[in-house]
Symmetry: C2
Subunit: 439 residues, 2 copies
């Protein structure tokens, strides 16, 4: 399946009128900086202008390529696969109008032609794929930053929205695949593939239902053993499950069975879209952590909120060793609290944060550190960001710089250095909780 | 207490060197467009330059004013109150160094002087106050937009962070008060005041602990009867409660007692900072709603996620009447689902959204509507925003336009028209849940 996400050559089939699906995909591939060969194909030929470049449109595919991306009317797809099948390894079928609208026959025909020719199919009725480390953006969805998350989405629209929101959350992606009707390749294949993909640190999976539970369970176990697999299951409630059935045509099945499968396989189930992002963020940074958290803050209130949430989630507020407390006492102003949560008070600067992080990081009773920063008085938030970056610390550090605009500089600096920000104390505490699930 | 939030004249005491607390407060008051008299006072006199204006600093307060804002060293505060007490109605004491650092005597002295002179005190050790409808920004915290939320915060730093984050969330504020050590006025006084303030639609309260439980309970009941009171309680867990005690010096008390008080009084307790914002947003728009929700979406997946969350929270997925379904069938393309959640599919445009909202709004089985929009294909999100704005609908509408940058135009347009966006399906469903708690 490697050729799908690291192709050396791609052909795109469809209309290249400005705004048409194939045009948008071609534009994304070109603008995304794909360095392999790109061949637009349309029986009418002609040329297409994208970003100032004029590119010839081929009337037929003459050369062999790794991947064909197909956005032509559904009924023409099976004949096209027959025609070009010998020249391609795989096809991403964007076109809708198959089993999802009751046209199961056409989908069967597509699959038969593909099998005949030894072509693997993603889709039909999907939003396409990204192989981000190959700069390959084979989808009309918004391009994303390079990173460690592989996003597998049954719903194209959910996937597209998640990519755009992921950009805002500072997530880096290794790959994206929307698999639509899953005529051939499905969630189980992708789980196994990304489990072995060196650029993928964590896998996020959005599913409504799966067809082959046994195969899914095996793939999930395989993947979750190798790296964190974060799952958002839609169709958990009675009405939601009914809606998912009518929406995807797949049997959603009992949620209890899914839930048990997630737990048994060691996958991490999240309940909300936002949690999917937060879990992805934390697993892009760290593989795991123990339960004993030290909280370092420059404001009491947010420190207490983080403490409440951490304890509610079953984390432990680490009991600092006597040595740690003595060392903290030696340089912190007397108004500071040296009990966990450690309150550095409002005028905490670079030095106070950095030294505290380093002292706490050495404590054997501490597994991970949560650093909270409300806008410091008289000190730019960048200074505190630098303290986090510069501190010698081998343990996972989660940061919660809060107050939007007021800490923007600090947050941007952190993100440039691969430290992702969690905007509230509670979301930061939840992030630490997920890390403990991999311990 | 009206004079605190709608003052006609204000004096500020402290250092007016650039960057000093009093300077920052004076700047905020001036830049915020306060139209009453503003008198900076410092025994050294001189002048201060702010935003191109040179303003004389008075050596003493000669005139009477409504409010004095005091940011001078703690030990000088009681004598100052004695000196100016006859000329002021109330004082906001920003200065720290009282009971929170063990200096209970000084705080007692402050209170005695104030009582002698009939002066009401907010603070000490607080971040100040805003009376937004009087354009009065008597705090060094970031200024906010005018609206319906009164934020009462025991923690100044929490309050400041919440104001900045509230700006990003599109919340409008009527007032803000950080009451610090609560030597005189406390949470109960503010609850009662904002319950009767015409510009306040909802009250948000951040507390760690209260001193007089009976008085708090009465004030909470009074306020919650008049308008939504949203509470974020910090210090709920064992470790959190201990940390809150050492932080505020107040007894946090058993969380179970607080919880019971919140429930009995009809206040709405939220568990996370983000929920505080979301509840504030929804109550700025609507007073209440029934349980039966209709979900309208242009993408199946997010519709299912909203359905799951709504049902989990005890809302009902409204069963649409036969008449509604027939009317929807009459104009919707056949691929659309006319069962709730109603799926308008990817190419849904202005007309399809608007008509659907209007038809569903008339259904007697529907109490509220959740409108979901992922980035529409070939249609700017502004068009869908307009459909929501233009649709004739008497029932609460909650919107979830998702995908950050891609729906920014639509979200901005909605917010200009007072319709606040909830960024995920789950957060939108939670917002609807809070509305039902006031039904």
């Amino acid at each position: 399946m490697h050729f799908f996400f690291y192709p050396s050559s791609v052909a795109v089939f469809g209309s290249f009128k400005r705004g048409a699906i194939a045009y948008e995909i071609l534009r994304n591939i070109l603008e995304g900086g794909f360095e392999g060969e790109i061949i637009p194909v349309n029986p009418k030929g002609g040329e297409v202008e994208i970003a100032g470049n004029r590119i010839d449109i081929f009337k037929t595919l003459e050369k062999s390529v790794d991947v064909a991306i197909i956005a032509i009317p559904a009924r023409f797809v099976p004949p096209l696969i027959e025609e070009i099948g010998d020249k391609i390894k795989g096809a991403v079928v964007i076109s809708a109008g198959f089993s999802e609208v009751g046209n199961a026959e056409l989908e069967k025909e597509l699959l038969e032609k593909a099998k005949e020719k030894g072509v693997r199919i993603i889709g039909p009725n999907c939003a396409g794929i990204f192989g981000v480390h190959a700069s390959f953006f084979g989808s009309f969805e918004v391009r994303v930053n390079k990173g460690g998350l592989a996003l597998i989405s049954q719903s194209g629209a959910f996937g597209g929205a998640a990519l755009a929101m992921g950009n805002e959350e500072g997530i880096g992606f290794s790959a994206f695949v929307s698999y639509g009707n899953a005529a051939d390749l499905n969630e189980s294949d992708f789980l196994r593939y990304f489990a072995d993909d060196a650029n993928t640190k964590a896998i996020a999976l959005y599913i409504e239902g799966v067809r082959d539970g046994r195969r899914f369970m095996d793939a999930l176990k395989y993947a979750a053993q190798k790296k964190p697999v974060i799952i958002l299951k839609a169709g958990k409630s009675k009405s939601g499950s009914k809606a998912a059935q009518s929406h995807t045509g797949s049997l959603a099945g009992s949620y209890e069975i899914y839930k048990a499968a997630f737990t048994q396989s060691g996958a991490i189930e999240v309940e909300e879209m936002e949690e999917l992002f937060d879990a992805a963020k934390v697993f892009e940074m760290y593989a795991k952590a123990g339960k004993r958290v030290a909280i370092i803050t420059n404001s009491g209130g947010p420190g207490v909120l983080a403490t409440d949430k951490a304890e509610k989630l079953g984390l432990e507020i680490a009991e600092l060793s006597k040595g740690t407390i003595e060392e903290l006492r030696s340089f912190l102003p007397p108004q500071c609290s040296t009990k966990n949560p450690i309150d550095l008070i409002a005028d905490a600067d670079y030095e106070r944060y950095k030294r505290t992080i380093e002292v706490v990081a050495k404590d054997e009773n501490v597994d991970s550190i949560l650093v909270i920063c409300v806008p410091p008085i008289f000190i730019p938030s960048e200074e505190i960001a630098k303290a986090v970056m510069d501190a010698e610390c081998e343990k996972p550090i989660i940061v919660n710089f809060m107050a939007g605009e007021l800490v923007k500089g600090g947050v941007e600096l952190l993100e440039k250095h691969g430290i992702k920000n969690f905007p509230t104390p509670e979301r930061a505490a939840k992030a630490l909780k997920w890390l403990t699930l991999r311990e």
